[in-house]
Amino acid sequence: MAPEHALYMRRATLVSLFCNIILVLIKSSALILVNSLAIAVDLGISFVGLIVSVILYYSIKLANRPADLIHNYGYGKIEHVCEILEGVVLIGIALAMSSQAVVHLLHPKPIDLPLVGFFSCTLNSALNFGGAFYIFKMARKSGSPAIRAEGIHYRMEGIISALIGVSFIFSIFLQANGQETLALHIDPIAALLVSMILVIPSFRLAKASFFQLLDASVEEESQMEILKQLSGHIDRFCEFRDLKTRTAGRNKFVEFKLIVPEDISFKKGYETVDLLEKGIKAGIPNCEVLVKMEPCRKDCEYWKKGRKCPYL
């Protein structure tokens, strides 16, 4: 992996870690002052985020290790494990908080200092969106799926904090208009809404990462690139077979068999393989290509009719 990619990933994880520490501190203080269930959900998300940031920091270090004798294809899959962990834990928090929200809806409790809650959420939201912007930038530069997932998490947190902030304003408005009973229900409703918002993207993240762990093939764009390269040199081989691709973190693996005329010189055959390998690597970043050359079986019409092979 290029050294600058490792640097971008390290920067992203450090920013994520630092921001998460600040967010946990702000939200913990706000929870003590305001006594809001919605802020408790938000704190839970940030707390998980903090733990995941720490795990991510060490995972990235491991993912950047080169392939060795124990892991011949490298350690890239650790990034998918991190994403699954994040998704599953967030779903757990959402479900736990939803049940608490239902209890609070049935037995609502007043919140203290909603204005403090609003300002805390505004600050959290700004920090989350700012962090997400930077992390996405680093994810684009490094091509890391785990860093990208972290950016998505940060953006989601920003939206959640903003929604909770709006709920506080709404609560203040209702209280100011004499609707104290209705205002009591705003906090658990906000907590329930936040939990529902949390579940869907967390489930999608965990699901996508799970399938990547099962050696899913590369994405459509890369598949097209491989086919483009094959079609670009289509007059140099008889056929290709067993095209297989897979992804491990940022790394992609492509392999296929290339059937060439039995009488082709080793040099010419190797040239074709080399052209294809270089072309595919140039078109797909972080890609390892393995092309196995096989001789034809002389079962084509050219051979049967004694005509010259067009690929020699």
């Binding site: 459509e220 598949q223 097209m224 491989i226 086919l227 670009g232 289509i234 056929e239 019409e301």
Partner: protein, 138 residues
């Protein structure tokens, strides 16, 4: 014979029920999960009208069908693919087309694409294989 003159017969098979065929004079109709195929033979030419998505789900069935024709059907020399009703052409579909093109050369036959939808043309041009299948519209 233009496509409009061919008697239109289609069988839609619900997902999971495999491929069914029915003979109707010169017409054979088969349907897979997301792809409908109509077949028309005229001398040494076979025209296959594909309708639907040519993707991971339908490509194996198309490849198997055309493979059988290329390997076993000695009467057919030219296979014309009509892709004017193909809504989506994925990389799996492109892979199938390239594989079949190579197999056709091996058997001294031709696979040609006459009519194609805008979506199919765009993908074929992007991959750079449109000229391989150049054929007159039928």
């Amino acid at each position: 014979m233009s496509r409009q003159q061919i008697p239109m017969e289609e069988i839609l098979v619900p997902a999971g029920q495999g491929i069914k065929t029915r003979n109707a004079g010169q017409m054979r109709v088969e349907s897979g999960r997301k792809m409908k195929i109509r077949e028309h033979r005229e001398g040494k030419d076979l025209t296959l009208f594909l309708k639907g998505n040519l993707d991971e789900a339908s490509s194996p069935g198309i490849e198997k069908k055309l493979d059988l024709i290329l390997m076993k059907d000695t009467d057919i020399k030219n296979i014309h693919l009509d892709l004017s009703d193909v809504r989506y052409l994925a990389s799996a579909g492109i892979r199938t087309l390239i594989i079949l093109y190579k197999k056709a050369i091996k058997k001294d036959k031709k696979i040609l694409i006459g009519n194609m939808s805008g979506a199919a043309r765009e993908v074929l041009e992007m991959v750079g294989i449109l000229s391989l299948f150049a054929g007159a519209g039928r």
